[in-house]
């Protein structure tokens, strides 16, 4: 029992690498307590060798995502009371990424695919030029705006079974970024980008499962972004601007 009067939480945490196992700890329950706090408690008080990753603790850096009771989530902004089943919590590393140790995954494949999707701005101007006037009410600006606040947490990537099944698939976050750039009127790399997302593991591999959209903590909609890319690339292909 704890100061809050609630029974302790029974927390199962993944320990080890890919071939690890869950181990269970008892953590005092508090009124103000996120899943990250629970994990921190275990490291600070019960098992100093527990590894996990976090930085900002306010949902901005996207480095604390884990699998909590079977669902990928940002842990710093997930209050325990919203996810605990009774007094039980199961916390594992994100799926679809290699495990480094315990709760920390290797995010490199995620970011490599981000690059493969050409999720990077290609400048058409320099610092010596004036800033491009872009009216906020234009359609393209609004489309780009809708998807731009991604924190690259990898939650959508972990939630998508197409990522799991198709190792070439670039995944929702990378494609969502490509879509925001496709709507960026300042960008000079449009054809190359469309080409990149129209090939093998590109946007067409998505089956609109929408798990990405359902789980995105920033409430972005990668499904809609990917659909947009499917349209753009199909048109570009039919016009002969890109190849299969």
């Amino acid at each position: 029992m704890t100061p809050s009067g609630k029974p302790d939480l029974s927390v199962s945490i993944w320990r080890g690498g890919a071939d690890g196992a869950y181990r269970t700890y008892s953590v005092p329950s508090r009124d103000s307590q996120t899943v990250l706090d629970v994990v921190t408690y275990v490291q600070r008080h019960l098992d100093p060798t527990l590894s996990y990753r976090f930085a900002c603790r306010v949902g901005m850096c996207g480095s604390c995502a884990m699998t909590v009771n079977g669902r990928p989530r940002w842990t710093c902004r997930t209050h325990v009371s919203r996810v605990a089943k009774g007094d039980k919590l199961t916390v594992g590393p994100l799926e679809n990424l290699p495990v480094v140790k315990d709760l920390a995954t290797d995010m490199r494949p995620f970011f490599e695919k981000w690059q493969d999707a050409k999720g990077v701005f290609e400048p058409s101007k320099t610092r010596d030029d004036a800033i491009e006037p872009i009216r906020p009410d234009t359609r393209q600006r609004q489309l780009a705006d809708a998807g731009v606040e991604c924190i690259n947490c990898g939650v959508c990537y972990a939630a998508c079974d197409t990522v799991k099944w198709n190792t070439d698939y670039l995944g929702p976050a990378a494609l969502n970024r490509a879509w925001t750039l496709a709507n960026d009127v300042r960008d000079a790399g449009q054809t190359e980008r469309l080409q990149a997302v129209a090939s093998g593991g590109g946007c067409h591999a998505c089956h609109s499962h929408q798990s990405c959209q359902e789980h995105c903590p920033q409430t972005l909609n990668p499904t809609a972004s990917i659909a947009g890319l499917k349209r753009l690339t199909a048109l570009a292909y039919l016009r002969g601007e890109i190849e299969a």
């Binding site: 100093p48 970011f111 030029d129 780009a144 606040e149």
Partner: protein
């Protein structure tokens, strides 16, 4: 045991300063080998990413560089190094154009398509460029994409820098010792030029806003290297940090300034609106005044259950609040608080560190080959940093460092082998806790945070500072006897907690010393025993340096190279027109 790597340019940190340095260095000299080492994942650690407010820049035709400069100097209570501040405000203009045009940032626009500038406290013009209230995410995401895109920049993610290793001459830098966090192995990276951009981070206070990876490592490394640290007493407190109780990382995180600006009330534990007792501007008073007022209420015991005060927004209409401050309201809700309709407990929280390594406008330091930028550097802000000048500072000077380092290398060719004795000593130092009986690092950190909060915090006096210094000595002695179990060193957070704590204790001592030395109250530094700001014309700044005989502290006169107290560049400009 020790793996040795070589590179031309080594950059520590992947905040605004580190990433910009990498891009500029790569552009200036694509043939040089550039290595960027950072404590967390590339771009996903540090505070630049957490910038909410935005980026100060005089781009609007109605604004001027001179006005931005004067705001910076007056905000800094005449302590800034004026050449650094001038570089900051002039280069910010270039940097924002670069961020938009070359890096791809997507800043908010006015209806006519021009950049939107919002109001930020302490400024005479609405010049803060932003992307909603997630400006830092936009800046860092775009920067890190550009850095990933350049395979020429080698990335050492989750590498913690431990020590600056001097060359055999003892007076220039040879390279940096670091831990590969994922394996626990040690690496020495020898470099011709090193940029320190680890972002300060006053996380030694009970309540603090910066990200968990920041623990003043850079400044403790600089201290041990014998470099001059300036303005170390200047810790900026943000008045409204979330107070969520003990054992939660939510506590201390910032509730944005705009809440007070929009008309939010601060109430004491007895639900009384207290700001009228302190300042006629009430809740809209400046950061330092509001922080001290809340602190006074806390000292007087008029607190909420967790020991802070309340912020109330509901009188502005919960629906409107939820709309206007969506990000903030959502964040509070995720953590179990109703900001729009209820009361949320708040407390002042350590936010930014104005002090740091003394440097020149080209980011060079006393040590040939060592450069510094961002929150690790000092002098741009003086006694107080304007909201919006932090990210301007890191991106401006990071870029300058990137421009300058290749030229420096060309002018100073050849490698500088490390002083092997220092290297060996630093290796031993890093592994020190493995030789001791494992103990409870966490308890010690809690003690440090209370000690600094109570004795060297928002309001200071000589007696408290003395207690603080004594407490730090005791704490350090205990820390050195507290071990960490030596089993698996891979991703061993507890080992890193220990190392963080050591950096924090060392730099805390310097803060306390400098705070004791400044016998007046300026900006972020407030002495209840010396509440007056003192004569502006004879302003001095503190400099601390660690020598063989321990810490030495001096005061240096501020050079008014551009304007003197009582003058304004705006008058000069208007007279000329």
């Amino acid at each position: 045991m020790l793996e040795r790597l070589q590179t031309d340019i080594l950059i520590l940190g992947s905040g605004g300063a580190g990433l910009f340095a990498a891009l500029h260095a790569h552009a200036a000299a694509p043939d040089l080998s550039i290595t960027l080492a950072t404590k967390g994942l590339l771009g996903k650690c540090g505070c630049t990413r957490m910038v909410q407010g935005g980026y100060n820049v005089a781009l609007n035709p109605g604004d001027s560089i001179e006005r931005h400069f004067m705001d910076t100097i007056e905000g800094g209570k005449w302590l800034p190094d004026q050449d650094l501040a001038w570089t900051l405000v002039t280069q910010a203009v270039v940097r924002v154009r670069e961020l938009e045009n070359e890096v791809g940032c997507f800043f908010d626009r006015n209806p006519d398509g021009t950049l939107h500038g919002k109001a930020f406290a302490g400024q005479t013009f609405d010049r803060t460029v932003h992307k909603g209230d997630l400006t830092g995410i936009e800046i860092i995401n775009r920067l890190m994409e550009q850095v990933w895109k350049r395979p020429g920049v080698a990335k050492l993610e989750e590498h913690r820098a431990l020590a600056l290793i001097p060359a055999r001459d003892g007076a220039s830098v040879s390279g940096v010792l670091m831990i590969d966090v994922r394996t626990g192995g040690l690496r020495f990276v020898e470099a011709k030029a090193v940029l320190m951009a680890t972002g300060g981070g006053p996380t030694m206070y009970r309540y603090h806003t910066p990200s968990g990876d920041k623990s003043m490592d850079g400044l403790s490394m600089a201290l041990r290297a014998g470099l001059k640290l300036r303005d170390m007493e200047m810790v900026q407190f943000h008045p409204t940090g979330l107070l969520a109780g003990p054992d939660t990382r939510m506590t201390g995180t910032v509730l944005e300034e705009g809440l007070r600006g929009a008309g939010g009330y601060l109430l004491d534990g007895g639900m009384r609106r207290f700001m009228a007792d302190y300042d006629p501007k009430l809740e809209r008073a400046t950061r330092d005044v509001v922080s001290r007022s809340i602190y006074a209420e806390m000292k007087a015991g008029r607190t909420t259950p967790n020991g802070g005060v309340y912020i109330q927004m509901s009188h502005l209409g919960p629906k409107d609040v939820a709309k206007k401050f969506k990000g903030m309201v959502d964040r509070c809700r995720d953590c179990g608080f109703d900001l729009a309709g209820g009361l949320v407990e708040v407390v002042p929280t350590a936010h930014y560190f104005m002090g740091g390594v003394q440097c020149r406008p080209d980011t060079s330091t006393e040590w040939p080959g060592l450069f510094v930028a961002g929150e690790d550097a000092s002098g741009m802000h003086g006694a107080n940093r304007l909201g919006g000048n932090g990210v301007a500072n890191s991106t401006v000077f990071g870029g300058i460092a990137g421009d300058v380092m290749p030229g420096w290398i060309a002018a100073h060719p050849g490698r500088r082998a490390p002083d092997e004795d220092v290297l060996a000593a630093e290796i031993a130092r890093a592994q020190h806790p493995f030789g001791k009986t494992p103990g409870n690092v966490h308890v010690l950190r809690e003690r440090l945070m209370d000690l600094m909060w109570d004795e060297v915090g928002v309001v200071r006096d000589a007696a408290g500072i003395a207690r603080g210094l004594a407490g730090l000595d005791a704490l350090e002695a205990e820390l050195l006897e507290t071990g960490v179990a030596d089993g698996d060193r891979a991703f061993n957070l507890t080992w890193h907690d220990w190392l963080n704590l050591r950096s924090l204790v060392e730099t805390s001592r310097v803060i306390a010393l400098a705070a004791g030395r400044r016998e007046n109250s300026r900006g972020a530094h407030f002495r209840s025993d010396f509440p007056e700001p003192g004569d502006l014309d004879t302003s001095t700044y503190t400099v601390v340096r660690q020598g063989a005989a321990g810490l030495a502290i001096t005061e240096e006169p501020v050079q008014f190279t551009i304007v003197r107290p009582g003058q304004s560049l705006l008058d000069v400009k208007e007279a000329a027109e």
